[in-house]
Amino acid sequence: MIVTELAIVGAGPAGLSASIEARRAGVDVLLIDENARPGGQLFKQIHKFFGSRAHKAGIRGINIGTELLRESEELGIHIWLKGEVCGIENGHNLWVVRDRNRSEIVKAKKIILATGATENAVIFPGWDLPGVMGAGAAQTMINVNRVLPGRKVIMLGSGNVGVIVAYQLMQAGAEVVAVLEAAPVLGGYGVHTAKVSRAGVPFYVSHTIKRAFGTNHVEAVEIVELDNSFKQILGTEQILDADTVCLATGLTPLTELAWLAGCKFNFVPALGGHLPIHDDKMHTTQPDIFIAGDISGIEEASTAMEEGRLAGINAAQELGYISEDEAKIRTDAIWDSLNSLRSGYFGQKRRDSKDLILQNGKR
């Protein structure tokens, strides 16, 4: 058994930020990630981030990832890669499978769950064919693995993931045949949408995929128009030539460990569904478990980093490394920053949903 003051699960933007804050305060931190490399999904984000300069806007995700890794290395943060946390017991003990061949128990005084999210699926005949994949999967292949998973791509979903990955697929050398959106209006930030549109990609609003054709791989895709209640309108089908379908239809938080730990949940559809209730310190309803990042609601890397800092600072305070007063001052400052990130047309909805969670989290 390994004993640590603070165990953090997930070395993406939230987990890295949490570990940096806690380690800076003097906490003995163990950061655990199932992947061979830390950084979560940051290293596939080759576009520039939004927000103000204070939120690292204008900087590409890959560079933010590199910066976080440099800081965590400088601080000497202890990190286990290829460590899969498969269980949690008594709110303190993590069951970790290391290098896929041995298991180890980590006993931690405090735990921060920063497990991230997984992509949603959309089901249609042919959705199981090779060539149908998550938009994030295609993004991983092109930007991290540097291989092109398809040549003629249909993107289902026009939110930020859909338009950003569509553009990055073109940068990687693919043709984007169409971007489909089930809703009557497009979902992504205008600047990303405009870039794809300027490149000549047709957008189909009120459209979805009826089926994908193919024997061993996608060979063509039938699309169909949707009415106001999202029902398919017969007779509006058209067949597009494509070898790849990317699904950019939202994300679901990876909450398994929070469920196992007995955290109380609430249902907040706007942020991805069932989410652990938390307070303004990112504390769950379990006494020694914090959350940060997409597990607490689907947002962006910029908010994940701020939430990670909140969790790291407040875990350090509870462990006695930071005074209550100092933690409060820093917590309030981070909330100012989060509130400014959660403003504007897209941000306000997230802020309203977060406020609901915080109401539930007030004890």
Partner: protein, 103 residues
């Protein structure tokens, strides 16, 4: 054949050591340290397995080790997630049928 060589944003790739792996006994060239699924796509291989009942082909789906659609038999061990498993020189990979066979 599907490697992205020129990219407007990403740096030029550092030269990688090439290794030889075997897919259904056929040798292909992969890059040391890359994920098996990426090496297969680079070589034009898009089917990782066939399902147990209907024998339908499956390829990568999530590419981050969650969905298990890309599992294959690797060095005699079935159900290996190829999107999160690195290639090693001389590795023997089999297109998996159903739940696969240990060997």
């Amino acid at each position: 054949m599907n490697r992205i060589v020129n990219h407007p944003i990403l740096d030029k790739e550092k030269p990688a050591k090439e290794v030889e792996i075997f897919v259904d006994d056929k040798p292909i060239i992969a890059r040391e340290g890359e994920m098996i699924a990426a090496a297969l796509i680079a070589n034009g291989i898009f089917i990782n397995r066939y399902t147990i009942h209907k024998h339908k082909p499956r390829g990568i789906y999530c590419a981050i080790g969650r969905c298990t659609d890309c599992i294959m038999t690797v060095d005699g061990i079935p159900n290996i997630r190829t999107c999160v498993t690195e290639v090693k020189d001389g590795m023997r990979i089999t297109t998996q049928k159903g739940t696969g066979v240990w060997s």
